[in-house]
């Protein structure tokens, strides 16, 4: 999220695509509706379903699932055609827009209508609304990301905002609403299998940086791995763990199949291909579930031995920092003592490390409090020491606690404290909060905002991908953060560059000593992000300069598949007429596994599975749903699993509202028995299922398989019991927004 929920009050236009905040983020709607009311901002909702969010739209656009890129390019077609783009912004701050232009040219109104299903006049109207009401925010959620083309989708949406000059301004932004408590923090701190915490990657340099932060010997760290190569190889994402159990060993880039699985705060029913996942769960030697509730993983597989349920606390039963969607951190206190014998996650982790014999290294600089609980203040201090790259370094426990104490001093739109001891700081010190806590950076409310000095929360795009490509500069051209002494683009800072600027003399002796210790025989090569003293950041900031450089945003992401995002039909598509022109990606390999695309799409499933199936959320339940389905107030509100089907399809199939139907999936004879909800929310040919249910499997009640007394009040078939294959080539994010199915009366 480049901006914040609150900043939507400043938006002159609001577009929500592939997100249903009225159900998934109800409180955010307070800000969305205020923006709509106060600024008379058009509220445009783009979704295959007429959602509860769409009910409040001034303009609802129904697209076919899986056509996000053609939709975006279709809007840009009108914008370029009419010269509505922000030409000066693009010249100064965007790389590669001409290549985008060439692709966009192909998406004339006729082709957009053919592929996406949106008529030309509506496309033009929406483009004009966004172009003429700036700044505008573009909000999206999993309807954009959970696709076999998720990364390319996200990039197309970002390019759209860049073309309008909507990034780096209040009221604008690429704003992805994050889900549950601290999910942004989890992402930042290395839940991603491609990187160590704070997006440092898995290179030797990254490992050496973190070994220094953790104060452990790099050689010892390396000895924990089978080889240096494995240490630097991306892991297997949670969307595909069972493939690593089930595939032939020769197809796997590691020495053996996966033998043990830990489900730590992960429901299992939130990712597709559950029939295969179930087999995987039965095949592993060890299955551990760490969760406040037993979850699908505990109840789905038929296994007697080697299963452990470790009861974990909820966030209300423990304390510590949590990162919100807008990168603000809040300090949470313990509200109630842990119920039953449940324990905080960090307690469980400590005990586990102890059993495995590396707790001394792992908790070297973290005090172990009474009752064997690692001290959460110390944990945050360790995070502060290491996550320099994204500026998680300034939010000390002390500063965050002060913010909680003085909440009333912060303005709810600008997020700035307007009075009191924290005057000038942004609430929760949204990252980047550069340098050490002592440097008192106020945090950054709006990313890449050149209208403010760096030391006051301003910034520019990072120079992360070098300084030029094919003779074209990647650095910003005449655009720079307010008060910057360098009035142009520049690369990332190293100690060497600091010397070249003659600014190294401003380092303290201690800072210089740290840099020289890190650099060994090449101190000039020490970059700002591994400078544990944060001296490089401090000195550059004093000159108004952003240590991470000042570059252009890449509209063309060289190095990624499809550097210019192009449309590819979902691998399970009913539109066989489009497959040849817009094929899926060729089969490839990644994340230690085979990754299929084209070979699946080549088969025509649309005869037996003629309906598009998309999935999503309900307001009553959250994630895998075990916790919320166990809550009597919520359970009462939503008592059965259902499938939404358009009245025309229902009458054609002889299905009445409220009756039981079978939904069949295209793989592994998958099927689910659910109630039909006949509604115009979904268009013809599309059905929708919520994904929070589990505890019924292909028509059979699994209640007896939960530990006695731990079964949720409401059980139901899992939508992902029938969803299918499909993974994004960059992240292996799963596809569960566009697949195929067949619905029959039961």
């Amino acid at each position: 999220m480049t901006n914040s929920y609150n900043d939507i009050h400043n938006s002159k236009a609001i577009m929500i695509m592939g997100g249903n905040p009225a159900e998934a983020h109800p409180v955010s709607m307070q800000h969305v509706l205020r923006g709509k009311e106060q600024n008379k901002a058009p509220l445009i909702v783009v979704d295959p379903r007429f959602t509860r969010t769409a009910a409040h739209a001034t303009e609802y656009v129904r697209i076919r699932p899986g056509t996000d890129i053609p939709f975006m390019w279709g809007l840009l077609w009108h914008i370029f055609e009419n010269g509505w783009e922000d030409k000066e912004y693009i010249r100064q701050r965007v790389y590669g827009m001409d290549e985008i232009r060439a692709e966009v040219k192909k998406w004339n109104p006729q082709e957009v209508e053919r592929v996406v299903g949106v008529p030309g006049e509506q496309m033009k109207r929406v483009a004009e609304l966004m172009a003429k009401n700036r700044p505008g925010t573009l909000i999206w959620c999993m309807g954009v990301t959970q696709h076999s083309m998720g990364t390319a989708n996200v990039r197309a949406l970002s390019v759209f905002q860049l073309a309008l000059g909507n990034i780096g301004v209040e009221g604008g932004g690429a704003n992805i609403f994050r889900g549950h408590c601290n999910v942004q923090g989890c992402t930042d701190l290395g839940l991603d299998v491609t990187t160590l915490p704070a997006y440092y990657g898995l290179t030797e340099g990254a490992w050496r940086h973190w070994s220094r932060v953790w104060d452990v010997d790099y050689a010892w760290m390396q000895s924990r791995f089978e080889s240096k190569k494995m240490m630097e190889t991306k892991g297997i994402p949670s969307t595909r763990w069972f493939d690593a159990v089930l595939v032939d060993k020769k197809d796997l880039e590691q020495n053996d199949n996966v033998k043990a699985m830990f489900f730590w705060g992960h429901g299992g029913n939130t990712v597709p291909r559950m029939p295969e996942m179930r087999t995987g769960m039965e095949k592993v030697e060890l299955l551990v579930v760490v969760d406040p509730h037993p979850t699908t993983a505990a109840a789905l597989p038929d296994r007697k031995d080697g299963t452990y349920l470790l009861p974990a606390c909820t966030q209300l039963e423990t304390r510590g920092s949590r990162t919100a969607s807008n990168r603000s951190l809040q300090w949470g206190d313990q509200i109630v003592k842990p119920v039953f014998e449940s324990k905080p996650d960090h307690w469980i982790l400590y005990k586990l490390a102890k059993k495995l014999g590396f707790e001394k290294e792992m908790f070297k600089n973290i005090k172990i409090d009474e009752g064997d609980e690692p001290n959460v203040e110390d944990i945050l201090r360790e995070i502060n020491r290491g996550t320099i790259s994204i500026g998680y370094s300034g939010q000390s426990p002390e500063r965050l606690k002060e913010h909680m104490k003085h909440q009333a001093d912060f303005d709810i739109v600008s997020l700035r404290a307007t009075k009191g001891p924290l005057k000038g700081e942004f609430y929760g010190l949204p990252w980047p909060c550069w340098g050490t806590p002592e440097m008192k950076h106020p945090g950054t409310h709006v990313l890449y905002n050149t209208h403010l000095p760096v030391k006051d929360g301003g910034g520019a795009f990072r120079a992360r991908f070098g300084v030029e490509r094919n003779g074209v500069s990647l650095l910003a051209d005449g655009s720079y953060p307010k008060d910057s002494e360098i009035k142009d683009g520049h690369p990332e800072f190293t100690y060497g560059l600091l010397k070249k600027m003659g600014w190294d003399k401003e380092l303290t002796d201690a800072e210089r000593a740290t840099i020289e210790r890190i650099g060994g025989n090449n101190p000039d090569g020490v970059g700002w992000a591994i400078d544990l003293s944060c001296g490089i950041i401090r000195v550059t900031m004093a000159h108004g300069v952003q240590a991470m450089g000042n570059a252009k945003a890449r509209a063309v992401a060289f190095g990624l598949p499809d550097p210019v995002p192009v449309h590819r039909e979902p691998i399970y598509t009913p539109r066989r007429d489009l497959v040849e022109k817009y094929p899926a990606m060729a089969d490839r390999r990644d994340y230690r596994l085979p990754h299929l695309g084209k070979s699946i799409q080549d088969k025509d499933f649309s005869k037996d599975f003629p309906m598009i199936l998309t999935t999503g959320r309900l307001v009553e339940y959250e994630g895998g749903g075990e916790e919320t389905r166990s809550n009597k107030w919520l359970a009462e509100l939503q008592q059965s699993m259902f499938v939404e089907i358009n009245p025309a399809d229902a009458s054609r199939l002889g299905i009445k509202d409220g009756q039981d139907v079978w939904v069949h999936g295209p793989e592994n004879k998958a099927k689910a028995r659910v109630k039909a909800l006949v509604t115009q929310r979904v268009g013809q040919g599309v059905v929708f299922m919520p994904f929070h249910f589990s505890g019924f499997w292909q028509g059979v009640d699994q209640r007896a398989k939960y530990p006695p007394g731990a079964d949720p009040i409401v059980l139901g078939e899992s939508a992902n019991g029938v969803t299918s294959y499909g993974y994004d080539p960059v992240t292996h994010m799963h596809e569960n927004k566009a697949t195929l199915c067949r619905v029959e009366a039961a």
Partner: protein, 198 residues
């Protein structure tokens, strides 16, 4: 004394049911009984709008007028409450109420429906304020603690407003003025005959 009222702004309500859940949790309202519920018109179609409904604590409360045992009474704040000790479960108030607010724990063709239950504006009942007895029969008495009804306090979008009728009417009028349109404060003309201009 302020005259307490509810107002639900259908331009804001997103049918999230937070108000319903807050109410059930605050008062431990049993499964099947709803003091507050969200009603949606044109569900899934253009023009879809939701409103959160509960007892409106009417000015000339029809329930009060029809009750054969006179179990209703009105507080100084204009809140309509009743005594479960007097209630005989006849169901007259349900038929008289324009908002369908009264609820009964049992529904049957014969005999009593049990004691009527409805929204108390978080103001308890005739028992002494904030006693166990009061909680068991009527739920929490937040008003006596100087707090407003929890449904509105927890409303996701500030669609549901509760409090001094003049203050919430003002908030709503300002919103309508900013938007340039308004579908009216739903139910006000029926519930509050005087001062229903919002």
């Amino acid at each position: 004394m302020a005259r307490m009222k509810f107002l639900c702004d259908s331009e804001r309500c997103v049918e999230c049911n937070a108000c319903v859940t807050a109410c059930k949790n605050e008062h431990e309202v049993p499964w099947g009984i709803n003091r507050r519920r969200v009603v949606t018109l044109n569900d899934g179609q253009k023009g879809e709008r939701s409103i959160s409904m509960a007892c409106m604590h009417c000015e000339d409360a029809p329930c009060m007028a029809v009750c054969p045992v006179d179990c209703f009474y009105k507080t100084d704040d204009g809140v309509v409450l009743h005594s479960k000790d007097l209630c005989i479960g006849c169901g007259y108030c349900f038929y008289a109420c324009p908002f369908g607010a009264p609820q009964y724990p049992q529904v049957g063709n014969f005999g009593s429906r049990g004691k009527m239950d409805k929204c108390t504006f978080c103001a308890g009942g005739p028992e002494a304020d904030n006693t166990k007895e009061e909680y068991a029969k009527y739920g929490a008495n937040r008003l006596a603690e100087g707090k407003l009804p929890l449904c509105a306090e927890m409303c996701s979008t500030k669609a549901l407003l509760a409090g001094d009728g003049d203050v919430i009417a003002d908030i709503y009028k300002q919103r309508v003025a900013r938007r340039g349109y308004g579908s009216g404060a739903w139910g006000w003309a029926t519930a509050y005959k005087t001062g229903s201009s919002a």
